[in-house]
């Protein structure tokens, strides 16, 4: 009974975090919208009046406004993923598109790879069944596995993330190109706990870490 209360409390806590993050992300998108339109207005005015201005000045301003636009687009994409991630906590268990889930998890974790100069190559599958599971626990599992892969990887390596449909479930493989993964580094209490909770398995074979997932009953 005590464990049930603890679980309910954790669920509610995650739900609160999710709502706060979604609201925060929404607010930041409004700021991005203003920055984008302001940069666009500067670009419009410069384009209209370019004939009477120093060409070098026009060029500098055009580069600056193009940079604003480019960065806003990148930031907006990140906030889009953050917002989706935040809403994952709305439901403790849900049916969802696993490719979308992977794209979101990669976007949110990609910085860890970039800091290690590891390139992530995501290869979505067109034939995945919908997965009915806990999205927040899957994010937890993804991050734990991803971090353990990165710990073993050095700069200029590439990590392929490949989901596939397997035996009425889904398999997600983390595949490196150069060295072998060390299985003992994946023997971890946190991984065991989350795998048990979502009824998944993890195995390590040479350059591949495989996570097998089934829809919860």
């Amino acid at each position: 009974m005590a464990m049930d209360k603890e679980a309910i409390l954790r669920e509610q806590q995650l739900n609160s975090y999710g709502r706060l993050m979604a609201s925060f992300s929404h607010e930041l998108k409004n700021h991005l919208g203003i920055i984008r339109e302001s940069g666009g207005l500067i670009a419009d005015v410069i384009e209209i009046h370019a004939a009477g201005l120093d060409p070098a000045l026009v060029s500098r301003i055009e580069k600056a406004t193009a940079s604003i636009e480019k960065r806003v687009v990148i930031a907006a994409q990140l906030f889009h993923h953050l917002s989706s991630f935040a809403h994952r906590a709305d439901m403790p268990v849900a049916s969802f598109d696993f490719n979308e889930f992977c794209a979101e998890a990669i976007a949110l974790s990609e910085r860890f790879a970039r800091l290690k100069q590891v390139e992530i190559l995501f290869e979505p599958s067109s034939v995945l069944p919908a997965l009915y599971s806990s999205p927040t626990l899957l994010h937890h599992l993804f991050l734990l596995t991803f971090e353990k892969c990165l710990v073993q990887m050095e700069g200029a390596e590439r990590l392929h993330l490949v989901p596939s449909a397997e035996n009425n479930g889904i398999q997600l493989r983390f595949i490196r190109e150069k060295s072998l993964f060390l299985p003992e580094l994946f023997q971890d209490r946190a991984l065991e706990l989350v795998l048990a909770k979502i009824q998944g398995t993890l195995s390590v074979r040479e350059k591949t870490v495989e996570i097998s997932l089934m829809s919860l009953q």
Partner: protein, 128 residues
């Protein structure tokens, strides 16, 4: 005759800047910073298109949409939403909005929608 656009968004800087950019392209534009202000403008101004924010403090965008559909059914409403999933935008479509755009809005996409919905052509002038 220039096409008429109404922008309803509580983010004043966003609405004003968007308004200026559309005016540079010779559209006749009005802006409102709340749902009630937008509905008041509609008494004297019949826009071809209304760009309507989904979340505002005084009235929700969906309530404003329902009111516009009732008092100005000829105006086409395009929702502006920051909601990540697009679910709210889809709900607005079911209530009579013709389209929705995700925030931060891509201006080229917005102009494309205006052109499609009004059958007009964009053109910039020198009144910036």
């Amino acid at each position: 005759m220039s096409k008429r656009i109404l922008i309803i968004d509580d983010e004043v800087e966003f609405a004003t800047t968007l308004c200026q950019r559309l005016k540079l392209r010779k559209f006749e534009v009005e802006e409102a910073h709340s749902g009630n202000e937008g509905l008041a403008i509609l008494k004297d101004f019949v826009p071809n298109i209304v760009f309507l924010d989904l979340k505002m403090p005084d009235m929700s965008g969906l309530d404003v949409l329902a009111e516009i559909r009732s008092v100005q059914p000829q105006s086409k409403v395009v929702m502006l939403t920051g909601h990540g999933s697009g679910a709210a935008g889809k709900q607005a479509l079911a209530m009579g909005a013709v389209d929705y755009l995700m925030k931060p809005v891509d201006f080229r996409e917005l102009i494309k929608r205006v052109t499609e919905l009004t059958g007009g052509q964009e053109e910039k002038d020198g009144n910036g």
